[in-house]
Every structure is written in C-alpha cells, then in structure tokens.
C-alpha cells in the first residue's frame, strides 16, 4: 500500500460555534431561569404568607428587631392605640400586639417589622410637624401589616439570596451582582405596596380625625428636596410627588374633608435636636 500524506482541511474535534455566541446563549438562558425563579418565589411566598399564623410571625419579628437598637416609646405607643381604636371590628390587625419603637437614626423612615413591631427612626420624628402627619405615618405602617407586606419582602429577599448562593456559591461576585439586580426589582414591586399602604393610611387617618388634613403635608415638604424623578425608579418608595397626587385623587374620590391639623404635642418631640 502506497502512503500518500494529506493534510486535513476541516477540524472535526473543535466546535465552530463562536465563543461569544455561546456566552450570549448561556447568559441569556441563565437570566431567563433566574427570572422564572423570581416569579415562582413571589407566587409561593404570597401563598405561604396567607398560611403563616401570627404566632410564627411574632417569633420572626423578635429576630428582626435585634437588627435595631431601639427603645419602647410610650407617647408613640399612645398615638398608635388611638389609631387602632378606629380600626373596623373585623380588621385582621386585631390579632397583633402592636409595639412602637424609636430608633436613633438620621434616616427619615419608619419600618414595619414582622410580629406587629413598628420602628420609627428619630430622623423622621424630627421632620414631622403635626399630629396628623405622625398619624399618617403610623397608619401607613399599619397598612403594611394589613397587607402583610412586611413578610412578603422578607420571604422574597431570603429566597433570592438562597437561589443565587446555590447557583454561584456563597460569596462570589456574580451572586452579589445577581441578588442586587433582583433586589432592585423587588423594590419596584414594593412601590406598589407602598401606594396601597398609603391608601390604607389615608382611610384610617380620616376615621381617626374625621378629616384628611395633614395626609400629604409630610410628602409635600419632602418633595422639595426629593430630586429627579428618574432616580426613584429603583428606590423603595414612590416619588413624593406621585404619592401626593395619588392621595389627593383618593381624597377627592372619597370626598374627604381637608381641615386644619393639630400641632405636634410636646411628649413626642425629641429633646435633643442635634
């Protein structure tokens, strides 16, 4: 047999797919799967929340409260009790033992924690100017409890963290990126919840005082230094102007009266205004 040397032209051992095309497919697929996981997580947490008894929630709440250095605040507690007395008799909120805490922080915010715990930051208390505004803030937080938003955020955040840790390992840079991207998604979801809590808050405020005065004051003051609207797409709360507009629409629709507000009583005023 004669040996005829021949150089092969095609290489069957190496795939011809361009590596960047391959990368695109896989990254795209991964994004799709993670999106699917996120949606499923949302559905399952929603389902699980409806079945979580308040007893378990209280237990989670104790864990969550450890994150903050807080003091029980009797004057705030009294304001909350006054609001609670105006809840309808069949409200699910009667199952909770509400506690208001004051936390020393510059942040202008209040948080609804599981188990009926409300944490008000001192930064917020410094900005509040009337009794009605304070009642609106507390009623807004009660709205979160009524819709059980505080648990939803918790469950989804946990689910995202677990899912990304499973995919990419606990401390990899990829998992950090993915979870932060998804958490901003989560924030957007939460804007809708904030709007719903606003509506609940307004109704309760009107029941408490007989009029809706002061409901938008706090946001109106905030609107001035809120900045551009675009930044609020990824923020946890809607833009103040959007909240004011929504509240005013509701006030008109339900024909709530708008009367003068009560000045803030001295007992909740912070002693050192530093």
């Amino acid at each position: 047999m004669k040996f005829t040397p021949k150089q092969l032209q095609k290489n069957v051992n190496v795939s011809t797919t361009h590596p960047l095309v391959e990368l695109l497919w896989m990254v795209g697929g991964l994004t799709f799967i993670i999106g699917l996981v996120f949606i499923l997580l949302g559905i399952t947490t929603d389902w699980a929340i409806a079945k979580t008894p308040v007893r378990i929630e209280t237990w989670i709440g104790k864990l969550a409260l450890k994150e903050f250095t807080t003091n029980n605040n009797p004057p705030l507690q009294q304001r909350l009790q006054e609001l609670l007395e105006h809840l309808p008799a069949d409200s699910p909120l009667h199952q909770y033992q509400f506690q208001v805490y004051l936390a020393a922080s510059e942040e202008v915010n209040a948080i609804a924690l599981p188990g009926g715990n409300i944490v008000v930051f001192s930064g917020l208390l410094q900005e509040v100017e009337s009794e009605n505004e304070l009642a609106m803030v507390l009623a807004h937080e009660l709205g979160h409890f009524a819709h059980r938003d505080h648990l939803r955020g918790l469950g989804r955040g946990l689910g995202i963290t677990v899912a990304t840790a499973m995919l990419f390992g606990e401390s990899s840079s990829t998992s950090g990126l993915v979870s932060s991207a998804l958490l901003s998604f989560n924030n957007r979801y939460s804007q809708r919840q904030e709007a719903a809590a606003d509506r609940f808050g307004l109704d309760l405020l009107t029941k408490r005082y007989g009029h809706a005065g002061g409901a938008t004051d706090f946001f109106a003051r905030h609107n001035a230094d809120a900045g551009a609207k675009t930044a609020y797409i990824l923020a946890s709360h809607p833009h103040p102007q959007a909240r004011i507009t929504a509240l005013e629409q509701q006030i008109t629709a339900k024909q709530y009266k708008n009367e003068t507000t009560e000045a803030l009583r001295d007992d909740v005023k912070l002693e050192d205004k530093e």
């Binding site: 040996f3 040397p5 021949k6 150089q7 290489n11 051992n13 190496v14 795939s15 797919t17 590596p19 960047l20 391959e22 990368l23 896989m26 990254v27 697929g29 991964l30 995919l167 840079s173 990829t174 950090g176 990126l177």
Partner: protein
Amino acid sequence: MEILLENLNLVIFLLLFIIGYTFGSLAEKRHYRSIIQREAELLKLAVVTAEGSFPAGQVKESALVSGSAVISIDYFKRILATLRNIFGGRVKSYESLVDRARREAILRMKEQAHKQGAKMVINMRLETATIGRNANQKKQIGSIEAIAYGTAIVMNK
C-alpha cells in the same frame, strides 16, 4: 469613580474577562497558524499507530521519540465552562485546548524524529493529563498536557 471602587470585585472580574478573551483568542489563532504551517512542513514524515514490520536489513536504526505540550485555559474559557457546568452539554471552550495540546505534542514528537533522520514514526501513542485537577475552582491552575510517543524508524538507503 466611586462606583468603580465600590464594585472593585466586579471591575476586576470584567477586566480579567476581557483580557482572557482578547489574549486567549489571539494566542489560539497564532498557535493554530503555527500548527498548520508546521504540519504541512512535516507532512512527508508518516506517523502511524500500527506496529509495522519491516523486511530484514531495511531498518537502519529505531529510537523512542516523544513530544509533550501543556496548554493553559484562559479566564474567558473558564467562565464559559463554568456556565456549561450549569446547563450541561459539550464544553466547547475546552475542545480547542485539547486539540491544540494533542497536535502540538505530535508535532514536537515528529520534529524530534525528523532531527534523527527518521522516515516514519510507528506505534504512536497519545496520552493526556490534567495539571491542576480542579480547573474550575478559584485560584487553581487549569491546564491540559498531552504526551505523544512512538518509535522513530531510520531506514537504510
């Protein structure tokens, strides 16, 4: 600037990713050019895996010749393979590495045989080994080594 510093991990990742892709594909293209050219040069030197038997007096000399090559993965290929670990399927990004290592090893073996004046290499065998077992783990070196060896035959004129 602050955003860059805050996400330093991510910036380093992207930088390594881009470096890995550019230099990895550059090196691969150059290597393939060199492989194809050298293969053409040594085309006449036959390499067979058969044992081969020769009539008495025809073989002047026979010797063991071997060649080996180690090829490293790059950062881009590693990421591609990591993603493959999730989905399954052919790890296409590693295929070219194995191919290059094998062909380079055979070429080096042929070059050694050529220097000794051999007309052919018989009984050629190929073996591969991985240096750095956990190629997909962080801070581990992932590379492939291929060894080709055979019997070089120098004929009587």
